[in-house]
């Protein structure tokens, strides 16, 4: 590339770059389809492998032989396995219909829709809390490495990582509800009800964010370009925020995304403690009752949300990190080796032309 970077050409290059990013995003979204298909098939297989007759479960004890047989036909259990799967999938994709709960006979998608917002709120706020406290703490700890502040923050993070949410939740209930009577011990409607669940669930992401930020910042601040900007006389705060943090952001963002997924899956314990009508508790009840349509639907929906979160994070990389942007051109994921080969061929051709 010996083209001089005149003002006229620069926007053109940016547009070209944008097209590449756009292509990457489209490719990444398309990759979502096989992933979700396989996840749903996997979940379907696990549940179908369960011992016991679902028709019997749906009817409960004391059902007659004919009733069970009729129920089997009604539920479509007499059809071949793969037909059952395709039917289930068809209804999800085109009608967002996961079937009806065995127990209550209420539509699974309706139940998911009514319980999911609480879980989303709980995990979302918890991750945000963790991020807004953990990232600055980790940054300061990295800048002042080996200082007392650093060791305090890191010990705190270690404890935060090791104390599970439900232990923290019980300790807080004991202190703030039972002893001091400051906060209500259950519910999720008012602000005071939301404080304890969010803090309990947010502790672990906060600790993990702090550790991750610290270690990725430490890696960045040792680099030559940081020494260069420091030599140029830039203020320390500008170095940290503008130059170091921006380059350390990729692993931090990944952590936040993974934490969000983990919290949606792991919120059920916190929801149980604070009696929050959330998705996790719905799922736990479903598992206890062996309510298979609800379990299958629930796990699939969460896997979908997690996959979408990962997608969003991957797309965010493209806008944050130019290194990742160039990485896309090389390719990663499903057909990476094919793309790699094409890429190498193309560069060879280009070299040849010159």
């Amino acid at each position: 590339m010996l083209v001089p970077f005149t003002k006229g050409i620069q926007p053109l290059i940016l547009v070209l770059e944008d097209i590449k990013v756009f292509k990457y995003i489209v490719r990444r979204i398309l990759f979502l389809i096989p992933t979700l298909l396989l996840v749903s098939f996997f979940v379907f297989c696990i549940i179908k492998a369960a011992p016991g007759d679902p028709a019997q479960l749906a009817l409960g004890e004391g059902a007659t032989e004919e009733n069970i047989e009729a129920k089997r036909i009604e539920l479509g259990l007499d059809r071949p396995f793969i037909v059952q799967y395709l039917d289930w999938l068809y209804n999800i994709v085109f009608h967002f219909d996961f079937g009806n709960s065995y127990r209550s006979n209420i539509s699974v998608s309706y139940q998911i829709k009514s319980y999911f917002p609480n879980t989303l709120k709980l995990s979302g706020f918890s991750v945000l809390l963790g991020m807004f406290i953990g990232v600055p703490l980790g940054m300061i700890a990295a800048v002042k490495q080996y200082s007392p502040f650093d060791s305090v923050v890191m010990s705190f993070a270690m404890v935060g990582m090791s104390v599970p949410a439900f232990v923290l939740a019980l300790a807080m209930i004991l202190l703030f509800s039972v002893t001091l009577h400051w906060l209500p011990s259950s519910g999720f409607n008012s602000f005071s009800q939301m404080i304890m669940p969010i803090v309990a669930l947010g502790m672990q992401p906060c600790a993990i964010c702090a550790r991750m930020t610290r270690s990725s910042m430490l890696e960045v601040v040792r680099q030559d370009y940081i020494r260069t900007v420091r030599a140029k006389g830039l203020s320390e705060s500008k170095i940290v925020v503008v130059h170091a943090l921006r380059n350390a952001l990729t692993p931090i963002l990944t952590t936040v995304g993974l934490q969000f997924g983990a919290l949606i899956g792991g919120a059920f314990v916190t929801e149980t403690i604070f009696l929050i009508p959330g998705f996790g508790r719905l799922l736990v009840t479903a598992v206890t009752n062996r309510d298979y349509p609800l379990v299958m639907g629930g796990v699939t929906v969460v896997a979908m949300v997690v996959a979408l979160t990962n997608l969003a994070i991957d797309i965010a990389y493209a806008f944050i990190d130019p290194r990742v942007r160039s990485e896309f051109k090389k390719g990663s994921g499903l057909f990476s080796h094919i793309r790699m080969k094409k890429e190498i061929m193309r560069s060879l051709e280009e070299a040849h032309e010159k």
Partner: protein
């Protein structure tokens, strides 16, 4: 042999310098001893009920008090160490074997096999671990082996990726070629020449893995989907204690502290091992 000894020794010396990690190692060894000899240490059988002695505050006779059935909480916490640690270690061991196997095959043979295996691992990764455990428990029930499987399965991809990545970097090195040239079969090349090179990162990840497994089991038991009573699991003890939080809060303290200490020690040991085994930090 001498070489491997000196690597081990060097790691040991470096781990010793990290006081928290080194102390954690000793606490963990102590907990393992407690778990193994639970029968000798616990003053009462873990399921022995005593209706005339329920909800007693800690005393000399029952140093952690008694629960709602008059069972000695100290004995239950001691037996709980056996349950939690064995679940943690076995779940990680199984995941390690399976992940190592798949990762080694994928990395060593490459091609379509690699693609198929690693795509399956990606799928496993995209389901949150606790949910996967829930699905398995929903399908197969809450027995101890099922729970170990359920907590282990979701960590398989991590080990597979680690082993695969290491194999990819070393499978073309001279000593592997040399082993192949003298007619060593694939299995021996993988186990003798390649796997020892993955040991350091695997050890670190496995240490964290045990901590995660213990937390997962405790969480599942807490909501009633883990080990069933009267098995003294720390999570289910906490769940029992929750009903008595007003007035009998001492019931919460010992299982909560036990979980936190165990997981803290595993995490800080994992941290210490990572630093001690990191070649970049070596002088």
């Amino acid at each position: 042999m001498k070489n491997s000894n000196s690597v081990f020794f060097e790691t040991w010396v470096r781990l010793k310098k990290n006081k928290v990690a080194f102390a954690s190692l000793w606490i963990l060894l102590f907990l393992i001893v407690v778990a193994v000899f639970a029968g000798l240490i616990a003053p009462y059988p873990y399921s022995m009920q005593n209706p005339s002695n329920i909800l007693q505050k800690p005393s000399l006779k029952h140093i952690f008090g008694t629960d709602q059935y008059g069972r000695d909480i100290f004995s239950r916490v001691v037996y709980g160490a056996r349950i939690s640690l064995s679940v943690g270690f076995i779940a990680v061991g199984v995941a390690l074997l399976a992940g190592g196997f798949f990762g080694a095959i994928a990395g060593f043979y490459g091609g379509w096999l690699d693609n198929v295996i690693m795509r399956c691992m990606d799928i496993l990764l995209s389901i949150p671990s606790v949910l996967l455990a829930l699905a398995i428990v929903a399908a197969f029930g809450t027995s101890l082996p099922n729970l170990m499987l359920a907590t282990g399965v979701s960590t398989i991809p991590g080990y597979a990726r680690l082993v695969r990545a290491t194999i990819l970097t070393i499978k073309n090195q001279e000593y592997v070629e040399a082993a192949r040239a003298v007619g060593t079969n694939d299995f021996e090349i993988i186990t003798r020449q390649i796997l020892p090179n993955c040991m350091a990162p695997i050890l670190v990840q496995a240490t964290f893995g045990v901590a995660t497994a213990i937390l997962t089991i405790a969480g599942l038991s807490f909501v009633g989907l883990g080990l069933q009573p009267p098995i003294p699991e720390w999570g289910s003890m906490l769940s029992d204690a929750r009903a008595y939080i007003r007035g009998y809060s001492y019931m919460l303290v010992s299982p909560a502290v036990a979980i936190a200490i165990t997981v803290f020690c595993l995490n800080s040991l994992g941290d210490g091992l990572r630093d001690a085994l990191d070649p970049k930090l070596r002088d």
